[in-house]
Symmetry: C2
Subunit: 345 residues, 2 copies
Amino acid sequence: MANLGGGEAKNRQVIFRDFVSGFPQESDFIVSSSSIRLKLPEASNGVLLKTLYLSCDPFMRFLMESRPPSTSYSPGSLLFGFGVARVLESALSNFKEGDLLWGMLKWEEYSVVEEPEKLFKIQHTDVPLSYYTGILGMPGITAYFGFHEICSPKKGEYVFVSAASGAVGQLVGQLAKLMGCYVVGSAGSREKIELLKNKFGFDEVFNYKEERDLNAALKRCFPEGIDVYFENVGGKTLDAVLLNMRPHGRIAVCGMISQYNLGQSEGVHNLLRLMTQRVRMEGFRAPDYFHRYAEFLEAMLPYIREGKITYVEDTVHGLESGPAALIGLFSGRNVGKQVVAISTE
Amino acid sequence: MANLGGGEAKNRQVIFRDFVSGFPQESDFIVSSSSIRLKLPEASNGVLLKTLYLSCDPFMRFLMESRPPSTSYSPGSLLFGFGVARVLESALSNFKEGDLLWGMLKWEEYSVVEEPEKLFKIQHTDVPLSYYTGILGMPGITAYFGFHEICSPKKGEYVFVSAASGAVGQLVGQLAKLMGCYVVGSAGSREKIELLKNKFGFDEVFNYKEERDLNAALKRCFPEGIDVYFENVGGKTLDAVLLNMRPHGRIAVCGMISQYNLGQSEGVHNLLRLMTQRVRMEGFRAPDYFHRYAEFLEAMLPYIREGKITYVEDTVHGLESGPAALIGLFSGRNVGKQVVAISTE
């Protein structure tokens, strides 16, 4: 238990060992432990944080590769990602002890952060704090703006979501249902398929691992074709979707997780359909919408409070469980949003 | 010479022999000749037309393949495509002898058309009539709306056009220059490259057949990256372009001519760039803009009359030269817009 009186505490950390090619392994990360004095250094003009939750997100795979000029993790340095933390001590007047924050954090139990203005203050605590790594954090923003802004959905349209039980997919599916769309989701296990159907209310579902022919599966689920595709996986699924797009359809490119660990990504062959069907395919990233966080909360909080959106997390406990949880994203091990609970106090 | 007094005339026609796979050959078409009485049949409620120009366009390749539910040419039936014709006789009050029309015509020297309302009346004859197969017809509409509506260009942006000396490409490049963009074009011969540079005023050009590495060629021409790509070719060029797109770039998918004669189109590997760079890639087709033809003419006619846009045609003479000209599109034989002049009288 940490000594909050400014004494010493154990500070476990996750270190990124070296650049990764192919699937990341647990051995690409080192869990180390050091001591930290629970007091802001004299020279600090920031805050001392206690990490509560860390988030495992697919984009972290990009940071494991050296692809200048893109950002990447530094070999031998701490991993970082989205998370939730509590302020233990502050040198700034606009942050005080007990404040709850979410944003980009280092993978360690205690952190000194010099620019806490880059983090969001959590104002609403009647929902689980872990939600700020998901439905009320980056994945929620991704789902909400990606669906409403990039997909330009209309009531009654046919919507397909891949990786549909994941952090983003489960939300997109439910937002589409709330809008009155017909929604089909794909996922890679019976347990996930069950969730989609019975918990998230998808109209139709399929397990892509059990379908010999993805085009046929989509034709079965969408005899009239697809108006909106929320793209999370890429590769063969995208190729099959292109064959089923309706005129003036839209594809929001949120991610392509099936491709992240391949040296050369699979070729997509049916892009000419963009022309023949006049389809718009558009990529986007959540940070482009962070300045609209207040608007997002105003829409999403009532959905949660009124039970209109259900949210499923897959939680592991303790920083030492983090690396396995993170790499599990890429084999589809997680069922729902993957969270690492560090501390609940 | 046709006898316009209602006598008999020779009517050459081009017949589509059978569905094509791979590159079309001259032997896929039959040039036949029959006799026609130059008089509207009694029962006709349409017009008798004399064909003046026929247009060779890449989209015609799609119609050569049997891919239900898409339209295709019927084996043993007449080829059709865009063209310009003059009314010889009319059973309709709103069409009269001497009227000039452009639109979808059969590949024959004389035609009876029952629904001439589907054709456009040509009002402006101070420009060459053949222009209505190109700069003032479907390819012009494609270039104008594809560039202005789908590419959302802004002054000073970096624009890349492939197949840049073709009917559409040469216009897009010049429209982009008129808007104050920096414009680079690619083409497949020295003669075409000359045209781009010296006649159409492209800022930079390259011959894709002489570049070992398309990505390197694009990096050389666009050290700052590409804002707008007007896509005419697909395949490897698209893959290289994706590596060079700037944030929030746009790709207008007009065509992918490098892929039309392949059984299986080449795979495109770099689509994840759509997400990382937040790129919008959108397909479109000229007929969606035909209802805005008046607006288009109002913009384009002054450009032609004031010499602000130059237009290059590659003309062959006589219907019997049509099949070779048409298949030449797919080997890049034509320099400029490919036209078949049938009659100038």
